[in-house]
Amino acid sequence: MMSSPTMHREEIALESPWTPKQHYLNMSYGVRSWLLTKDHKRIALLYLLSITLFFFVGGFFAVLIRLELMTPQGDMVQSETYNKLFTLHGVMMIFFFLIPSIPAVLGNFLVPMMIGARDLAFPRLNLASWYIFVIGALFALGSAIFGGLDTGWTFYTPYSSIYSNTNVVSAALGVFITGFSSILTGLNFIVTIHKMRAPGLTWFRLPLFIWAHYATSLIMVLGTPVIAITMVLVILERFFGVGIFDPAVGGDPLLFQHLFWFYSHPAVYIMILPGMGVISEIVACFARKRIFGYRFVAMASLAIAVIGFLVWGHHMFLTSQSVYASMIFSLLSFLVAIPSAIKVFNWTATLYKGSVSYQTPMLYAFGFIGLFTIGGLTGLFLATLAVDIHVHDTYFIVAHFHYIMVGGMVMAYLGGIHFWWPKMFGRLYPEGWARFAALVIFVGFNLTFFPQFVLGYLGMPRRYHVYPEEFQVLNVMSSAGASILGVGYLIPMVYLIWSLKYGHVAGPNPWRAAGLEWETPSPPITHNFESTPVVQRGAYPYSPEEVQVV
């Protein structure tokens, strides 16, 4: 079958699987053509490679942590090493995997295609953002190799600014630098979504994936500079010994926490909003229905982004923050839970009277909805002032944010990767293996992190190398789960790579999904569309009244 540029869009969807002769992957060859590419799809793949690397680096640290915690005595590694392990696990996973994961890979690949554009507004900035990311990552890796880092990913002062003997400066520089990569990505998305939508693609016709990325970008642009300047202050303090966060010379360590969480709490939404966008696409496609309450889901993304900026003080209920400030932060934290609840209810309602199929991406979406619900609801425990006193800084909070980050974001990321894999590479992954892996990951995940809720309420503090003996059983359960989870993550690595060569040819639209990205060949051509598409209907036109040609 030949690629036929003149073919009508609806017809493409009905064709038997084929691959265009020329597409973005084989337009040009050689390392240079990749390292100097301005094609958003190629940059997305550069990101895919780099963050996969960091995911496994961070995962490796996690494995060592869980191995150490098999026994209460702290006999495998020294305390110093253990502290470095959990710090590097956090830094790698948060700054170099979770924050870039969906936006920089799937967002980069799909935002222009979903809105009918040929590229992001600033392709050169886009490439620059990848280079900045890599440079930042090198600094962080450098700190891991030369001297390590033992401050925890939160860099709390005065420990990080005065007391730590590890390589804080290099790691802080890494976070500072990589922040700009995130800013540039966000800026690019905002401008692209505002200015480059195809004719007829009004705001309320946009896929919810785009809404989620728009909200994420707002946080990236508004929040990231604050962490950047905070890291600069920590670095300056370490270099010059000026006590901006040192109470001995008139500084206040709490100021650091305010500045840090002003970014890092919204950053949590950078890590989950794009995942919500992915889930909306998958649920609509595999239930063959428009997302229930589209406008509510879209607005919920914006609400999360906005209210998310007003809740940072809930990380400081136990500090000297005033009781009244804590109350306001607590109230606002409850409010930010509402839009998340709206989304979960709407996804569930979308299934009602749908036509549900259980392909792998949908399995991940089910997993996401369930685990995110648990993660979100346990967040309420932490927003509740009196209960937070007890569970703050215990394994309860570790379990909570892993339910959101791993149960939520990583599930969504994997679901998204499977969903758009045929679009990215023109080949299908093996469905059986993929379903099996999804199941293994779900089981492994729950076994790893559910016991940690119990541990947390029992009072086991986080970041503990040595712990009382009565906590061992639960810790062993958690470690056992982690080994299952680890295997679960390795399986997709193998079959996805295998599928690049041996997978079935996917064709432009293997899922018969709606959305502009499915109207291009798989893999897409460099400019995405032969001619700019014109949009005449809203998102998710899966139903008979909305689809003329079936």
């Binding site: 428009r290 109350m327 209960v387 190398h465």
Partner: protein, 315 residues
């Protein structure tokens, strides 16, 4: 490894039960909604599974009524959680009058405790049950967090500030004491046990390890040694204000502001005397930064608290 496999912490203070009740409420809400979502997803996914590749479900765009319900119901529930949690938190923030004062200093990686009668402990805290205990805490280096899970209480201790924490134990026994805020290499070893005793046994314990001097006496000694007494006298030529009977009361400053003469103000005035001068006195006091430890500061505060107005002290 199976020796003792608890799934729920001991409940050994007056607030523990109250926090547990709120916790159970939260757990039931979580369980209810989690089951609801799981069930709905399961039922819908099964009932509406794809039966043929050509089926096309009828479009449903949404329902304002349903949206209203699932915005409104969670909103009400979360407001209940908020109010309940805030009321309890507020109670925890206010120590009751007449509590037993114990002073705690955190440093990498130990908790140092001083009892008013002068006994000192490291990584252990002996307390009587059925009596409110108020801890005044400081740290010599980084941020620590004082945590007794069985009492459901925890409080960060920040450098340069005093934090207070109170509890009333209801059960005798030994309970874990942890540092909950990551503080460096041996963070996980910064802790020990809280020993809650019957009041009589507590008295026995106190007299068993009789100290050379009480906290106030130690403070008085420092007050002499550091030369505080040369200026802070009650006579008319004194260069500093007399301190008798002033603690806990408002003080008028030279800037015109009024502050409460509390632990934090005492500490600030010793370490950074020029920041808040009492009205009518010259700015002559030197700083004692570096000359006095956190423990010494707490002894001085205990001493100053104990000063009652003497007859001749009332100018």
């Amino acid at each position: 490894m199976w020796s003792g496999f608890p799934l729920f912490p001991e409940t050994a203070s007056t607030v523990a039960g109250r926090i547990d009740n709120l916790y159970f409420f939260l757990v039931s809400v979580t369980a209810f909604f989690t089951l609801l979502i799981f069930l709905l997803v399961f039922i819908f996914a099964l009932k509406y599974r794809r039966k043929s590749e050509t089926e096309r479900p009828r479009p449903i765009t949404g329902s304002f009524f349903l949206e209203f319900i699932w915005i409104g119901v969670p909103l009400v529930i979360t407001l209940i959680m908020f109010t309940w949690g805030a009321v309890l938190y507020f109670d925890l923030a206010r120590p009751p009058k007449g509590a037993l004062d114990i002073y705690v200093v955190g440093k990498q990686w130990m908790w140092k405790v001083q009892h008013p009668t002068g006994q000192r402990e490291i990584n252990e805290l002996h307390i009587p049950i059925n009596r409110p205990v108020r801890l005044t805490m400081a740290t010599e280096d980084v941020i620590h967090s004082f945590y007794i899970p069985a009492f459901r209480i925890k409080k960060d201790v920040e450098p340069g500030k005093y934090s207070t924490l109170w509890f009333e134990a209801t059960q005798t026994g030994e309970f874990h004491l942890f540092c909950a805020e990551y503080c460096g290499t041996r963070h996980s070893l910064m802790g020990g046990k809280v020993v809650a005793l019957e009041p009589k046994q507590y008295q026995a314990w106190l007299s068993g390890g009789a100290a050379d001097e009480t906290l106030e006496e130690a403070g008085a000694r420092l007050f002499q040694q550091l030369g505080c007494v040369t200026c802070h006298r009650a006579d008319s030529g004194a260069r500093g204000p007399a301190l008798e009977g002033k603690f806990g009361k408002p003080v008028l400053l030279s800037s015109g502001e009024t502050v409460i003469f509390d632990e934090a103000y005492t500490r600030e005035s010793i370490l950074n005397p020029r920041s808040k001068i009492v009205a009518g006195y010259p700015t002559v006091m030197p700083t004692f930064q570096g000359q006095i430890s956190e423990e010494g500061l707490l002894q001085l505060i205990a001493f100053i608290k104990s000063l009652t107005p003497r007859q001749e002290g009332n100018q």
